[in-house]
């Protein structure tokens, strides 16, 4: 019975939060926290119920069911944890803003929708929760007035996705006469290849839009940028990755591994993998050109989504494990980065990378979050992002796909450039004097940053903790065991031991520190007390932040444009012109209209052929 109660708590909690908001702000905040905490506890307890399902409602003779398996639990726990910390973060970030009752309700509603999506056992429930999630997301993206057009962009694409899912569900129903996922899985072998491809395509369009796979990504950068920081964390961390859940569901749970590998694949896997690879390269290099901190991260969200798609679309055991694990890792570090940027924006009121700088002394915790976040994003060894990327690279190389591997690796090197710019332009370099009075971020912002920073290091040094669950998901989907150990991967084709690296680093850094201490002691000086080869550096001048990679930009700018957006804009102009031309046939003169009618009648007569 825990299963339905979880969802009931999630939904009723959201509405009660709205109602209590009318009474007292403090009570509302407390209730929002309590609901999020209760959900975290419930989903954690579901660990003991994995493999169960529960029919909760009957709709036109079809039982709507909830179920929980390893895959849904994995996504569920990530959803509720991120939600909890986003709510805590909102307490200070959203303080004093308007329509807060609505904000908290929508936050919890999105969370409830995501929980519903991962736990639904049939496609009717799936579709309903998917829609609840999408529409509350739309309201949150356009929560600020600037966000309206971004929200509109999102919802148009989202509706296309929903239609596509609906069509897919009906195709499935026409074949099997049921909506139940478990029943469909059993009968999957009867499906003809043509229908399999149709179903895959329909669902992949929908999940590709949600996961911002190129060329369906256009909604993402604006949506991430224009919304409130706590929700950016949720949308980037988990909501976008509902697309990943969908991909895993359709490719490996519904279609089944063997079917995906043998019948449909060659081509399907090939196309999806390359779309993923292109997404990686374009996403990360366009990110490099951005000057808005949130937009930079948003493009990385697209790029990293490419890694996940590449991982699971490639379809070998290690790459799929890497793809699933990367979903979690990405959620952790991107949430952390958005929290850090949010803290900076909260204090300075801007996130323009060209005008910030030198905040490290003023906001040390935000800096720590930023540093560990970008380390995870790059995949520096001993942070979580490394292990998942290692799994993907290894599988691509050993299965002789060096070009895909090259796309993935070069994406990482592009990432280094852009995230270093991100860190440098916010926290390092010169501090503009207008920010000299900046205070530290409040505790309710620091706390989530510290928690997620710890998670990055913990999962980087002991990747076995989450990888164990990933392995259980994989075994459930029919893959062979990976050889997961608490310290990494033990496999015949190449092992990884992060614990070894950790101890090596620990010993070496100790040695280096001893070496440093035995040398002549250094003198602490101010940041501004620098040597400029005899020149004088005036304050607030010569801050090398604007156009950080100017020589490079001139070279790569013509290549890495937002081609899809440009295409859509061209299409819009073309459509406008065409409509304008068509409009001109309405001249407003009665005689001309009569002429049209006569001509049309003549045309009909010609069409019949017996005018003479």
């Amino acid at each position: 019975m825990l299963l339905p109660y979880t969802l009931i708590t999630a939904f009723t909690g959201a509405f009660f939060v709205y109602l209590t908001g009318k009474i007292s702000e403090k009570l509302r905040n407390f209730l929002a926290l309590a609901v999020s905490l209760a959900l975290l506890i419930f989903v954690s307890l579901l660990y003991t119920k994995i493999g169960t399902s529960h029919a909760y409602f009957s709709f036109l003779d079809y039982a709507l069911t909830l179920r929980v398996d390893w895959l849904s639990w994995f996504f569920g726990i990530a959803v509720v944890s991120i939600n909890l910390f986003a709510i805590i973060y909102s307490f200070s970030d959203m303080k004093g803003k308007k329509r807060l009752d609505l904000f908290y309700m929508l936050m919890l509603l999105v969370n409830a929708g995501m929980l519903g999506v991962v736990m639904s056992g049939d496609f009717i429930s799936f579709y309903i929760y998917w829609e609840i999630m999408s529409w509350s997301t739309f309201l949150l993206i356009s929560f600020k007035e600037e966000g309206f057009s971004a929200g509109l962009k999102y919802i148009v694409l989202s509706i296309i996705g929903s239609c596509s899912i609906l069509a897919g569900i009906f195709v499935l129903y026409s074949q099997f006469g049921t909506f139940n996922i478990a029943l469909i899985m059993e009968q999957m072998n009867m499906l003809s290849t043509g229908f399999a491809v149709a179903i895959l395509t329909l669902f992949c369009i929908a999940f590709g839009i949600k996961n911002a796979l190129m060329p369906l990504h256009t909604w993402l950068p604006d949506s991430y940028t224009e919304t409130e920081s706590p929700f950016t964390a949720v949308i980037s961390g988990m909501l976008t990755r509902m697309g990943m859940y969908g991909f895993l569901l359709i490719l490996f749970v519904i279609m089944g591994l063997n079917r995906y590998i043998s019948v449909v694949v060659e081509k399907y896997s090939f196309v999806l993998s390359w779309l993923g690879a292109i997404t990686i390269i374009m996403g990360t290099f366009i990110a490099l050109l951005q000057n808005d901190a949130k937009k930079l991260l948003a493009w990385h969200g697209i790029g990293q989504g490419g890694y996940m798609i590449l991982g699971i679309a490639y379809g070998s055991a290690f790459s799929v494990a890497g793809g699933i694990f990367h979903t979690l890792n990405h959620a952790i570090y991107i949430v952390l980065l958005y929290f850090s940027v949010g803290a900076v924006e909260y204090r300075t009121g801007t996130r323009d990378l060209n005008s910030l700088g030198g905040l490290i002394r003023k906001m040390p915790v935000a800096f720590l979050g930023g540093l560990l976040g970008i380390s995870g994003l790059i995949g520096v060894p001993l942070t979580n992002g490394f292990v998942s990327k290692w799994l993907i690279y290894k599988s691509l190389i050993l299965n002789h796909s060096p070009f895909l591997a090259f796309a993935a690796l070069i994406g990482t090197w592009g990432t280094i450039l852009s995230v270093y710019k991100f860190l440098h332009n916010i926290f390092l370099g010169q501090l503009p004097s207008k920010y000299s009075e900046i205070k530290k971020s409040p505790f309710s912002m620091q706390f989530p940053i510290i928690v997620f920073s710890t998670a990055i290091i913990l999962f980087g040094v002991l990747p076995g903790i989450p990888l164990n669950i990933v392995e259980k998901i994989m075994v459930g989907m029919g893959f062979e065991s990976l050889g997961v150990k608490i310290w990494g991967i033990a496999s015949e084709t190449g092992s990884l031991s992060t614990l070894n690296i950790f101890f090596a680093v620990l010993l070496v850094i100790l040695g280096v520190y001893i070496f440093y201490r035995t040398g002549f002691k250094s003198k602490r000086v101010l940041q501004e007390d620098t040597y400029a080869a005899g020149h004088y550096i005036p304050k607030d001048k010569y801050a090398y932040t604007a156009e950080f990679y100017a020589p490079l930009f001139d070279i790569i700018k013509p290549i890495f444009k937002e081609w899809v957006n440009i295409f859509i804009e061209k299409l819009t102009v073309f459509g406008n012109n065409l409509s304008d031309r068509i409009r001109r046939i309405y001249v407003g003169d009665l005689g001309t209209y009569v002429l049209y009618i006569v001509l049309f009648l003549a045309f009909l007569l010609v069409l019949r052929g017996n005018i003479w």
Partner: protein, 292 residues
Amino acid sequence: MVVLYGLGSILIAFMIGILFAGIARKVRARVHWRYGPPLYQPLIDIVKLFHQQSVSHGFVFDFGIFFSLTGAIVTLFFIPIGNIVPLRESGGLLVVLYLMLIAPFGIALSSVEAANPNASIGISRKFILALGYEIPFLLIILSVMTYYGTISFAEIVEMQRESTWGIISMPITGIAFLLILPAMMGLKPFDQIGAPQEISSGPEVEYGGIYLAMSRIQHIFLVFINIALFVSLFLGGGPEPLTFFLKMLPVFFIVLIVSTVYPRFRIEQAFRFCVRWPTILAFLGLLFVVWR
């Protein structure tokens, strides 16, 4: 035992690296018709710096330089110097790829905590150049890993010992690697990062005393790692450290001779060079490996 191996590889790398630094100064001087400092001058410099007063700009200034030196040393542990490989089964060549970027990343964090625009410019140049040479470098590493069908560094070296050297099986790829070696080691014509006449040594501008010493040691290790990579991947490594060193010597000389006579490129010229000839060669090499 592992700890002993670790200390052994640090010691060997340091000795070879510092000898190379000495040779570099001597050779450059002789090409310039000067007498040049003694061979052990870099060691004297480090000992001197060790005892000099220095300034620190804060926690990250210290931490970054530790991090950088640590990254360089941990990378060493993955490289088979003869039969000495402290960390054999810990992730292979892919981990080396990633560890190699820790050293510059540490310097990048450390040097810019000081509000010195010269350091920022230097780091920005470093990353642009790094992107330039990483594109061919990744293609080269991928060619090698695909050719031998493994990601384990030690296995690649052993397989070369059983058959022929990598430079014979993959000549184009080897040449591409030789072309980017000076860029990877920051030697002329690719020394825009620390260009002393333009940006007063770039990232090193705020370092003095022990910091400069650590930065120098890090660079010495980096030179060693880059040449060792070439020797291990294309010249079959060495059964024991001495052969390994003897194979490293000619490679270093080739790079050095080129570097002594060239002036400095502008950064965009350097980037364009890296993404043009070495990349084309490395790409052809990879095609050759795939269609073999």
